[in-house]
């Protein structure tokens, strides 16, 4: 039964590694940003899984519940989601400018254009 509980964490690690693989192995810049998003969501999953208490409920005080899940990871991840979208927006605008400057978003073509200068 203990390993069933670890399923959440293992899935988070697998998703993290999938996102990491997309970032390091794909040459297209937009695909890299997609991989970064997948990575971020898996980290959120990891944190929120740590904050869950068995038999608990959402941390909103009602009279019907006595055990609440830990609200601190939720606060941290709320901030992290918003910061993540901010960095994604900036990354995507940089990709647009790179496309206008080099004419391509493939990494190897950009490097070859830089070396040919």
């Amino acid at each position: 039964m203990q390993y069933l509980g670890l399923y959440n964490y293992w899935i988070a690690v697998i998703l993290m590694m999938t996102g990491f693989y997309i970032v390091i192995s794909s040459g297209n810049l937009i695909k890299k940003i997609i991989g970064l998003n997948i990575f971020q969501v898996s980290v959120f999953l990891f944190y929120i899984s740590m904050g869950k208490i068995t038999g608990g409920t959402a941390p909103i005080k009602t009279d019907a519940a006595s055990i609440y899940s830990n609200p601190l990871p939720h606060v941290l991840i709320l901030t992290a989601i918003v910061v993540g979208v901010a960095t994604t927006a900036l990354g995507l605008s940089l990709v647009v400018r790179i496309k206008e400057a080099y004419g391509t978003v493939e990494e190897d073509e950009i490097h070859s254009q830089d070396e040919a200068w």
């Binding site: 959402a58 909103i60 709320l78 605008s93 647009v96």
Partner: protein
């Protein structure tokens, strides 16, 4: 896309409800899941829908880019202003207990309301600004 009658009618039906839902989420963040960030994003989603259906020019007439850029800063100023108010009334920075002389809990409510409003205004304006920047880039 404004030639498609179904899209136009549905968008006109939905957009007021989306804006109303954003305001609901903003002000009920104290009692139910919600708060400034979610409300700001939903508010911006209404403007994104309007832009997709009716075009960027029409959307820029509704939400003037200069006004939206000013609102980006107004939200942060509201947040910091609430914090400075705490100092002026004798407490620490971002201390809400001193915002109301008689009842600290009421002061907390007031402080949280003001800063969530600031957060909601900034997030909505930033999302609208970013979307307008991306959408306006392709047209030369």
């Amino acid at each position: 896309m404004k030639d498609q009658i179904v899209l136009r009618v549905i968008a006109k039906l939905f957009i007021p409800f989306i804006l109303l839902f954003a305001l609901y989420v903003q002000f009920h963040g104290d009692y139910r899941p919600g708060g400034g960030f979610q409300a700001g994003v939903i508010f911006a989603a209404a403007f994104v829908l309007y832009t997709l259906i009716f075009g960027l020019e029409a959307a820029k007439k509704v939400a003037k880019p200069n006004l939206v850029q000013v609102l980006v800063a107004v939200g942060v100023l509201l947040y910091v202003g609430t914090g400075i108010m705490g100092i002026l009334l004798g407490g620490n920075f971002l201390d809400y207990n001193v915002l109301d002389h008689h009842d600290p809990v009421h002061g907390q409510h007031l402080g949280i309301l003001l800063i969530e409003l600031g957060v909601g205004i900034t997030v909505a304006s930033v999302m609208i600004t970013i979307f307008f920047s991306f959408a306006g880039r392709g047209q030369s």
